[in-house]
């Protein structure tokens, strides 16, 4: 078992190094309550795509550019984030999520293989900005529940919801 986890960690190490240029990422071994076994390649792809989605999320909300979400988000998550960007634009603000650290773990792989759930404990600074002026900065320690579903080429975020850590 320990050997498997080590292999899993090694499999993740390379892609994460590439993904995590802007923040520290720690991927914890999966702790699944679903019945379907999780292949290391699947786990690697899910984590890679999830971290990519964070990049899109940050840029989209900073630049008020909802089209940047289309590749990584789908369903409810896409609808809500797009609506937030529209509201930000209307208010003349934008939001900067300055990444600190991610500690994420895959916690569920549905028996049908059609959804994967990640719990990500994220520390970041949220800056509310008006033009180039920072109106407020707040450190946030949040527990994100993320549900991803497969599309033709990648895993996309369908639920993206934070709660207080």
């Amino acid at each position: 078992m320990i050997r498997r986890l080590l292999l899993f960690g090694c499999a993740l190490a390379l892609p994460l190094a590439a993904c995590a240029q802007d923040s520290a990422v720690q991927v914890l071994p999966p702790d699944l309550h679903g019945s379907r076994p999780l292949e290391a390649l699947t786990a690697t792809a899910v984590v890679r795509d999830y971290l990519e989605s964070w990049k899109s999320f940050r840029t989209a909300l900073d630049e008020n550019a909802p089209q940047l979400l289309d590749e990584d988000f789908v369903g409810t998550a896409l609808t809500k984030l797009s609506a937030t960007i529209a509201e930000q634009s209307k208010l003349g603000i934008h939001t900067r999520y300055v990444d600190g650290t991610h500690r994420l773990r895959i916690v569920f792989y549905s028996p049908d293989g059609l959804s994967i759930q990640i719990v990500d404990r994220v520390d970041y600074n949220q800056q509310v900005m008006q033009g180039n002026t920072v109106i407020a900065t707040q450190p946030v320690h949040a527990r994100y529940i993320v549900v991803l579903t497969p599309s033709q080429t990648r895993w996309q975020v369908r639920v993206f919801q934070a709660s207080a850590e």
Binding site: K80, E87, I93, F108, S110, V128, I135, A142
Partner: protein, 290 residues
């Protein structure tokens, strides 16, 4: 007043001024509010101000009479998540963090049953996965029992109750012994979602045939083809008869008709004929010509 004393008084006033400013503009944020619920944020200060609330889920702004509470009516802030609130009066800002939690009551279930069609009598053959959402499409994270019920047209139904963990619950069920449509129902706190699962006969079981002479040929006929639970295999299912003689082989595919497949084949005495359907092999007959 001496110069030194004046300096001390002035310094004290300057030191105190930021504190006075901070006290003049402040708000008392709740730690948590339920999605869609009405709440108010008491403020201090005077004059006009603005309250901006921003998070991944929503962004909004309200004009504020400083010194009075800011009221947010029901249905205004409804997406669960962490939010930064900024109170400003044009010259100064106060910021804080609060959480919007999912509503308590579920409103919809995202229920996926897999597969939608499967053979009868299969252990753990059907899976059901449920995500529980509130009326605002927030995933409800508090543990909640989800009841799964699979009822076929015949035979007893199966029921299991599985609590959600971080908003998701899942189970596996067996398919029924008899073919037909089964209703797979998930229920959480009065909200239900139903899927129909077609349970179809499995592979043929005990496939057998007889051979009788018919003129110069052999008439090959299977006994009624059924699965291991006794369900008739659907008409049109292909049954393959294979005759071998003297190193040569001839094959005939015949669709089932009213549970039976039959064919006439020219068989020389000494030939061997076998029957199969899909991956299931039946009996073998050594043909003597009689």
């Amino acid at each position: 007043m001496s110069l030194a004393r004046r300096f001390l008084v002035a310094a004290s006033a300057l030191a105190a001024s930021p504190l006075l400013l901070a006290q003049s503009l402040s708000m008392n944020l709740p730690a948590q509010v339920a999605a869609g619920s009405a709440f108010s944020i008491p403020t201090t200060g005077s004059g006009q101000g603005a309250l901006t609330i921003a998070g991944p889920g929503q962004a909004l702004r309200r004009s504020v009479q400083l010194g009075s509470p800011v009221s947010l009516p029901a249905g205004v802030l409804y997406n669960a998540g962490e939010y930064v609130a900024v109170l400003s009066n044009g010259a100064d800002e106060q910021a804080g963090l609060f959480e919007v939690t999912p509503a308590q009551q579920p409103s919809s279930l995202s229920f996926l049953a897999e597969p939608s069609r499967l053979p009868v009598d299969l252990q753990d053959g059907i899976s059901g996965t449920v995500y529980v959402f509130d009326v605002y499409h927030n995933l409800i994270l508090r543990p909640m029992p989800v009841s799964f019920n699979l009822s076929a047209s015949s035979g007893p139904s199966q029921t299991r109750t599985v609590p959600t963990l971080d908003g998701v619950s899942w189970t596996r069920m067996n398919s029924a012994a008899r073919e037909g449509s089964a209703h797979f129902v998930a229920q959480a706190d009065g909200v239900t979602s139903t899927r129909v699962v077609d349970e179809v006969p499995g592979d043929p079981c005990n496939l057998s045939m007889t051979a009788t002479p018919d003129g110069g040929k052999a008439k090959l006929q299977t006994s009624p083809v059924r699965d291991c639970s006794g369900n008739p295999i659907p008409d049109g299912t292909v049954v393959t008869f294979t005759a071998s003689f003297d190193g040569r082989q001839s094959t005939v595919d015949v669709p089932l008709k009213r549970d039976v497949a039959e064919v006439e084949m020219p068989l020389p005495p000494g030939a061997t004929v076998s029957v199969a359907s899909g991956v299931v092999a039946g009996n073998e007959i050594h043909w003597s010509g009689r």
